[in-house]
Symmetry: C2
Subunit: 335 residues, 2 copies
């Protein structure tokens, strides 16, 4: 193993000088800097992460807690993770992956064994049991999602309330008078996952303010569930002309089932989906969507984390405005 001493010897300087060259915390003459940098390159030196962590109390590692359920929204989680790890690397940090399943104890462990410098936590529930402990942790913490009482924690998320409203507004503007929301699976609501209820609130509020009829139903992602869900919605209101789908897994089955029933999209029924943009074009009818900006959220989460690590201690809550992209799945209802 190549150590800082080897580099120092090769460059003819003291180890501390090498350290200062690397960290830039003291001024170094150009000549010495060149000498040291060359030795580093020549020897292929990389500081020992453990030693560095021990001496400086910094690990350059960010921990990310992800949910591993498959009933959830895999594409979004993956996209988020991808973006987070990329952003972290851009700040010279690595990403450690933890699972929600391990519970609060894992967070304690990570914090008190100094494995990571900060924590990012996904899939936050309205009254998330982890929140109180996270507050007590005295590590920088950034939540992806917004609990009822963030109390000093930073949060970032899509503004799902606004997203729900945007979907309804779009349909209302096209002239629709009766719309329905097909939501995430019942389990998601049961857990009190915050984005589901926030979206629903936006949906309902907008329906009220636009004075149009609105119903909603959670929906599991098997084909049977989708079919049953449509049965219910159409039975409850045969004049239904607009569908808001906040459940990506359901889209293939849903579109297929609609056609099966002889309902054409968008001629007979309009569909707005909430999903990553990348999914919009995979379907026979390119979908009008409100994008889930997983990539943007991931980047922001990392950026907020870095700010806290840099000493910015004031917590912030960032809600990203929804972006609706009109494609081929929405149109004015037929008179």
């Amino acid at each position: 193993m190549v150590t800082i001493n080897d580099v120092a010897t090769a460059a003819g300087v003291a180890p501390s000088t090498v350290s200062y060259v690397i960290s830039g915390k003291r001024s170094i003459s150009p000549k010495t800097r060149r000498l040291v940098e060359e030795s580093i390159r020549k020897l292929g030196y990389h500081p020992h992460a453990g030693a560095r962590a021990l001496a400086s109390s910094k690990t350059n590692v960010l921990a990310l807690v992800v949910p591993l359920r498959t009933d959830l929204n895999v594409a979004v989680v993956m996209e988020f993770v991808a973006s987070a790890v990329t952003a972290a690397r851009a700040h010279d940090h690595d990403l450690l992956l933890l699972t929600k399943d391990e519970g609060p104890a894992a967070l304690q462990r990570v914090a008190s064994s100094a494995i990571a410098d900060a924590l990012m936590v996904m899939d936050i529930e309205a009254a998330d049991p982890r929140v109180p402990m996270l507050i007590a942790l005295d590590l920088p913490v950034v939540l992806i999602g917004v609990p009822d009482h963030p109390a000093g924690l930073s949060c970032v998320d899509l503004d799902f309330t606004a997203a729900g409203s945007a979907c309804v507004a779009h349909l209302a503007d096209l002239g629709h008078r009766s719309v329905a929301l097909i939501g995430p699976s019942p389990a998601v609501y049961r857990r009190g996952t915050s984005y589901a209820t926030r979206f629903l609130r936006g949906f309902d509020d907008a329906a009220k303010s636009h004075d149009i009829r609105a119903t909603n139903r959670p929906c599991a992602h098997s084909y049977e569930a989708v079919s049953a869900c449509l049965d219910d919605l159409l039975a409850a209101d045969p004049d239904l002309t607009g569908l808001v789908v906040h459940n990506e897994a359901v889209l293939p089955g849903l579109l297929s089932d609609l056609r099966h029933r002889g309902l054409r999209v968008p001629e007979d029924i309009s569909v707005v989906a909430v999903c990553p943009d990348s999914m919009a074009e995979q379907h026979p009818v390119a979908l009008t969507t409100v994008a889930i900006p997983a990539e943007e959220v991931g980047a922001q989460a990392v950026e907020m984390t870095m700010r806290r690590l840099a000493g910015h201690t004031t917590p912030e809550v960032r809600l990203l405005g929804p972006r609706l992209t009109r494609r081929d799945s929405t149109a004015a209802p037929r008179a």
Copy 2:
């Protein structure tokens, strides 16, 4: 921060004794053990990861290199990651996430800065440029996928050759005489991703040995691409009755398009998909599949890694046998 000294003081023993209680590397009297364990619990002590790494040259961290392209198979990657992190935790290790995009330099960095004890690498290409460097690395390395020349590296993967054959055999056994493979996007072949070519080989071999007609086409995952692909295949052979789909992203569009053409599944055309089992039931017709056992592969990869860390130095190549589950999308062709 609680240190080993605090625990030692609280328990009235020497720090080294505490260390031995934790590691179990020397015998400890029951009385002392109880005393120490209580102090640990009471103080909420967790060893400092950096200090431990420095003193013992072990980090208890596994690094996992994943591809972050979205043209690839997100669900499979996610499922694999999930399983790997769970398995790693079961062995008291954490998981560090790296991206393929960072290239070989990142692997060097991880190895020589002692961030992780071992490396697991996904998305291996036939002539993967990372392989030679991984061999030189003198860290335990496990590949998920099989390059042309593993040369001393351990590998684990689904036996895609056998999987390709199994799909054809199933269709041939049902009486099909002409089948086609819809493969991953052209980019995947261009990269020489090993599973794609291995699957194709199995597909072709089985077609030959069963003496049935077989063609194949890569396919991007937009709806247009799917549609064009079907045009081609049906034009080339109007008697086509069997489809093998080695490209999950394409399934929704494909099934939809088939129905659009008036081709019923499985009455007019049979479909075998290669995908995670969890996707089989999401479609209007439950799909006959050869499962991609991402979870199993993840667990095996971790297990192989732990074996190497335990001193087992002989490399192994584990190819998991394919499992075909018959559902509703395959049937005998109509006379």
